[in-house]
């Protein structure tokens, strides 16, 4: 049983009571809501005649259903409009802050809470969204919940939870150029499986993790859930504090010093005990691409689609299903596989550093003929920062569309979607069948830089080759800003 880890300390601090079913009532420090999983919770609350206990601890945004071309109201889709209007009405009725479209603070829930300084070390963070694990990057215990639990948090600011086992994922070494946090996490999931983390919190630690920026840590923790771990976290350190300092909701003045002292005390120390540990070497990881229909079906870009013989017996039925669905031949290289659509965005990889990494590949190059490529910033703040440094112009010059913030084609609850059998190179987090809006659409997950590489080559390509060579048309770069 784990002891003295950050997870144990934060858990103990937030314990309210032991419940009859054997679970623990846990206080929730920050509750985030969006338009998809909250309306039914508000209805249930209303039916029970209950108020929101701590409206100041719930923060709302709108992300899943917003169109990324025009965000003018009312939306063309009446159902999307109804969902947003319902969220607006619920927030107004209960005194909950909503960071709506055009507020300058709207965006994907897992992008805006960190950038506003709402997410802080030592908090418990819950949201009706499985990628809530993202917030663990700050040393928070953050997890996705269902709609009944959203109702419970609204009503009581607490949840019935069972304690997880803590697995330390220790990563030595340094990620090589062209290899990003996305590749690291796809590699971890590939190695431990999509079920490997069930019942566990993943603590990401070691020299390679210490070297990651906050945005990279968010990418990593974001996908912990794809490895079955409902919680993933990194211990707070100087990088965490530097990121938080000066953010709108971060403590300021004298409180800042006290906060840093408290946050530092929460990190897992030398006395921490883990349920188990798995080790990785960052230097050995190649840019990683999924070829199948779960995030665990990933391979290095220099590898071939695994054959049945190379696949453990219990995974063979899924592999066969994936060959069929993806229309791939086992044993063929993944590099060179043609793609139709290239999507850069999502709560996994829609932050400024992601757009910079993709723009570095796109700069001075052109999207290959016949490819639809688009970039969706994760938030209004990300969009503004990217535009301020001219990334939008780089992308536009290269033939990418530059869109408004939202979840976009990560899941198709808005107009962005695959058509028919289209295959996408996508910086998002799920390659499940039908995830991107077409029941037969196919998704290859990869880093944003790899998506940009796929866009300019028209096929899966090793971004390291593009980074090592100058664009064919270096003169295109200075012209970029002038193009439409």
């Amino acid at each position: 049983m784990s002891a003295a880890t950050l997870y144990d300390k934060v858990w103990d601090l937030h314990r309210v009571a032991d419940l009859p079913g054997g679970s623990t009532q846990l206080f929730i420090g920050l509750h985030l809501i969006h338009e998809v999983t909250s309306p039914q919770a508000f209805t249930a609350l209303h039916d029970l005649g209950l108020p929101v206990r701590h409206p100041e601890r719930t923060v709302a945004t709108v992300d899943h259903i917003v169109p990324t071309t025009s965000q003018a109201r009312p939306f063309a889709d009446p159902l999307a409009e109804e969902m947003l209007a319902t969220l607006e009405a619920n927030c107004a009725a209960h005194g909950i802050t909503l960071h709506g479209l055009g507020s300058g603070r709207q965006g994907i829930v897992h992008v805006i809470a960190p950038e506003l300084g709402l997410t802080q070390p030592g908090m418990t963070v819950a949201c009706g969204d499985s990628h809530t694990s993202t917030h663990g990057a700050f040393g928070a215990i953050a997890f996705g919940i269902g709609t009944s639990q959203v109702r419970d948090v609204l009503a009581s600011q607490s949840l019935a939870m069972n304690k997880l086992r803590v697995r330390r994922i220790w990563v030595e070494g340094t990620l090589q150029p062209g290899v990003y946090a996305k590749d690291l996490v796809l590699h971890v999931i590939r190695s431990l499986g999509v079920k490997g983390g069930v019942g566990h919190a993943y603590e990401f630690a070691g020299p390679a993790i210490d070297a990651l920026s906050m945005e990279e840590r968010m990418t990593l923790c974001n996908m912990a859930i794809e490895g079955g771990a409902r919680v993933g976290y990194c211990n707070p350190d100087a990088t965490t504090f530097a990121y938080l300092r000066g953010r709108p909701h971060a403590p300021a003045g004298e409180a800042w010093e006290r906060a840093v002292a408290w946050w530092s005390s929460l990190a897992s120390g030398p006395d921490a005990v883990y349920d188990d540990e798995v080790r990785f070497d960052a230097a050995a990881i190649a840019p990683t691409v999924t070829w199948g229909i779960t995030p665990g079906q990933g391979i290095g870009v220099d590898e071939c689609v695994p054959t049945l013989e190379q696949t453990p017996a219990e995974e063979r039925p899924l592999a066969e299903e994936a060959y069929r669905y993806m229309d791939l031949t086992p044993g063929t290289p993944i590099a060179g596989l043609p793609v139709d659509v290239c999507f850069i965005g999502s709560c996994t990889n829609g932050r400024l550093s992601d757009l910079r990494a993709a723009a570095a590949v796109a700069r001075g190059r052109r999207v290959a003929a016949g490819i639809k490529a688009f970039v969706v910033p994760g938030s209004e703040q990300v969009a503004a920062a990217a535009e301020a440094e001219g990334l939008d112009a780089v992308f536009r010059a290269a033939g990418f569309e530059w869109r408004e913030p939202g979840c976009s084609m990560c899941l198709a609850m808005n107009p962005d979607r695959l058509e028919g059998r289209q295959i996408s190179a996508s910086s998002s987090n799920r390659n499940f069948k039908g995830r991107q809006g077409s029941a037969s659409g196919r998704t290859l997950l990869m880093s944003p830089a790899m998506v940009a590489a796929a866009a300019v080559r028209g096929q899966v390509a090793d971004v390291r080759e593009l980074l090592a060579t100058a664009p064919a048309d270096p003169a295109a770069a200075p012209l970029a800003a002038g193009r439409p």
């Binding site: 679970s23 009532q25 206080f27 999983t37 600011q157 079955g228």
Partner: protein
């Protein structure tokens, strides 16, 4: 069990063998009904209910969305479309069922189609919790037993399943003349079992009962008090 039957579930019963089961309410101790098998490991919530069905502000009407894309892929042949499985209440699955997105729409869609309990090799955690919060037990059984049960249900859909959540036992009674009843041991963690059997699976009231402890916890959290000024 006194909740009104769901109109959505009712519209899905062309073979009126059994009346649509009411939604769970109160203690969940025993369920009797026909079973339906959906075979495969790692069936994620995007498959249970594709994202386009999440565009709603109410769960009513989600029954049509259950396995919608899988059903499109095999028109009329999916177990949820087969006439002989209409009215089934116990869903028999395999490993890691309900992985992926946390959407409660997934158990809601299954419940509105008519499912009142699931039996599988393993369940994704959030999915399990979402089901529990609806009063829908997710029970576990060994892979080989499940494969045999799935085959039996597909071969003879009229098989009656009797699920005893207190005893953690499933009695399988084939239709007349098709063999003798068999029984299968199931597992379920003690906490959830107690919650279901006692009717305390709807936890909001329990959480609210600890108002003073909630306030005390909030009072000791540094980030709620300016970090101990």
């Amino acid at each position: 069990m006194s909740a009104p039957p769901s109109p959505a579930a009712a519209s899905h019963a062309p073979t009126p063998v059994l009346a649509p089961a009411p939604f769970p309410s109160g203690p969940v101790r025993r369920l009797q009904g026909r079973g339906v098998a959906v075979v495969g490991n790692d069936i994620d919530t995007d498959r249970i209910i594709p994202a386009r069905f999440l565009k709603c502000v109410s769960f009513d009407g989600l029954a049509q969305g259950a396995f919608a894309d899988d059903r499109l892929e095999q028109p009329g042949a999916h177990p949820f479309d087969r006439p002989e499985h209409q009215g089934a209440t116990i869903l028999v699955v395999n490993g890691n069922f309900g992985c992926g997105s946390s959407r409660e729409h997934a158990p809601q869609a299954l419940m509105r189609w008519g499912i009142r309990a699931l039996i599988g090799e393993s369940f994704a955690e959030i999915f399990f919790g979402n089901c529990l919060a609806l009063g829908i037990p997710c029970l576990q059984a060994p892979a080989a037993d499940l494969a045999a049960l799935q085959a039996a249900l597909t071969a003879s859909p009229a098989t009656i399943l009797d699920l005893d959540i207190e005893a953690l036992r499933l009695t399988i009674s084939p239709a007349a003349g098709a063999g003798d009843p068999r029984s299968l041991a199931l597992s379920l963690a003690e906490g959830p079992q107690r919650m279901l059997v006692s009717g305390q699976w709807d936890g909001t009231a329990q959480l609210l009962a600890h108002g003073a402890a909630l306030d005390a916890t909030a009072a000791r959290l540094p980030y709620l008090s300016g970090f101990g000024a």
